[in-house]
Symmetry: D3
Subunit: 136 residues, 6 copies
């Protein structure tokens, strides 16, 4: 079993705001992250899959294919967009990095070839903060 990781990037606006709470409680809990005019990040996305290398290619999966799957099913839906407003798979969810990583896992899992398994989605919000989700 070998693990293969592809790193991709996207830029997006977001906001941490719980609609069941008052504006004041949101500001108390989320501070500047609750700014009603949004803020944003350069997210760095690491997608790791695992599998046996194919004897003919030496590849777990052609990394260009993995990159295309990530671009089609994730980057097209989040890059240069507003995570709270524009992204169908984040609708109705708190837009934390934790929830975004889970949602990216759930999206990607459906589109990977049967020969490989998704191992971990790692998502940097800033160079000092990242989350990892290994599935349930």
């Amino acid at each position: 079993m070998v693990y293969l990781t592809r790193v991709e990037h996207f830029n997006a606006a977001h906001q941490l705001f719980n609609p069941r709470w008052s504006k004041q409680k949101n500001e108390t809990v989320f501070g500047k992250c609750a700014n009603e005019n949004w803020h944003g990040h350069n997210y760095e996305l690491y997608v790791t899959i695992k599998g046996e290398p194919d004897p003919d290619t030496g590849f777990v999966l052609d990394v260009k294919k993995l990159s295309e799957i990530i671009k089609e099913h994730i980057l097209e839906k989040v890059d240069h967009l507003n995570l709270n407003e524009d992204v169908d798979f984040m609708k109705g969810k708190m837009c934390s990095t934790e929830n975004l990583a889970i949602a990216i896992w759930e999206q990607l899992e459906q589109f990977l070839p049967a020969a490989v398994q998704l191992h971990v989605v790692k998502l940097y919000e800033t160079p000092s903060i990242y989350v990892e989700y290994f599935g349930r």
Copy 2:
């Protein structure tokens, strides 16, 4: 003459949109950067000053002092905010990285001690794109 650089970070939302143009022309020119719901970045800001080291301290300027000046006059005004909507010194300007670097220079220049000169403001929008402004 020695050059001293301090690196700081901020996260912000923005949009490239020229109000004198139609929505369609904005989309043609700015593509995804014109998204009406905003997108955002982790900006990385390099501020370089120059001067003679003080014989008593060996410092061109105490780098903690430089950091405080940047925090007070720049980061407080842009971090976790919307560059188009929330930042007084960007009002009425196209919100490009070029214009943001010029505006940061103009802000900082006023608040530096007389013994040093601002040399360059370097601003990364993404790890692959940066601008530098050396003043006029």
Copy 3:
């Protein structure tokens, strides 16, 4: 279960020196790291916790809270200090990166909220050397 990591930095002096050995044996085993006048590093500390995201916030733990815990219980005790001389939780221990990572784990573990678990302490001594400790 989601894993959340916060990266922090500190600068410190240290020395590798076993007091049960002669000065010569220390120099043979530890080379330049045994320098009696100390040397030092910019340590980079990655603290990873795990837990379920809170439905109200989307957070495993507010990363600002995690950062404050690390600052109060670790950085305040090691930053800009001498690891051998100034740090109570390293007293009487060989001051290797391995032992420092274990000691940081033991410190942090006591102060994390009950809802999360400490997963790993990862500590870079230089950009080419790091250790990880997952607890016992």
Copy 4:
């Protein structure tokens, strides 16, 4: 149990080309990676071992010793060379990053001291692509 990682670098030429396939099929499958005149990379190699810190040194293993083992048994055989043509342990194998990581594991495993175990070989082909091999 503590995990210790050493990072090393090497530069090499390689080519993805399956000799059982036509030139055309190789180009279809491997694209530019099949270029008959080779291309190359700055590989970044992370070797992680695990063990108990020695009470006398605080070390899982002296990291200088780990570096020497990697240099003698891996870097000497791959650095500034052609992975397909010049490296005995890659002979007859598809020269993918997956297979190179497996081969590096098999080389290193033989030469590590008995007190430690090899945990993972992580190999970056580019800053956006890496593989990990944890043994079988």
Copy 5:
């Protein structure tokens, strides 16, 4: 005047070999870099242009346009190729990073819009070695 930099990457094989010298002299002078079976690098290319920001866009030049010019005139000709064998603008030249940076400058200069000037080509051969060329 504002300076705008775009960072791009390419992978290539190369060799340092002076055909007017004996094989032995090449090995003496260039060491492992003279390997007849080639070696290779992940080159990192920084292209900096300068100009006045356009009042309508805030751009010195649309960075996507700059990226396209670099891709069409440089990356298409060097990426995943052999710098000595496959690249017309390096024919008959010693394939050092210095000469490659000069050649990239000479290529790019012809294709930039009149409103901007090429300022510097910066080329990393490894993370520890880079050259800069500002034109003659």
Copy 6:
């Protein structure tokens, strides 16, 4: 004219302490940097030289030669040492990054071949603080 840069690293202990001042004034001015038991850093040193590429090699200077000069005249004297106590060329100077960069310039300048000129010494104290010295 082409500019060639070599990046090297060293680890050292140091202290900011002006012997003409009281202990209290040192603590007021230098804060934690005045710790009497020292602290330390992983310094990153960029040395840039300039010259014309040699027609036979394509090199401004063989970068291995540049690296050897830096190692012999700088790293041997500062790496894993105490900048205040152990380094002859820092004796009697305030041990700031500014003064260290100037001293490194003065050391290196004497030992470079006549065909090249030293252009700049750039010294990172931490990833967020660096100084540059271009000579007088």
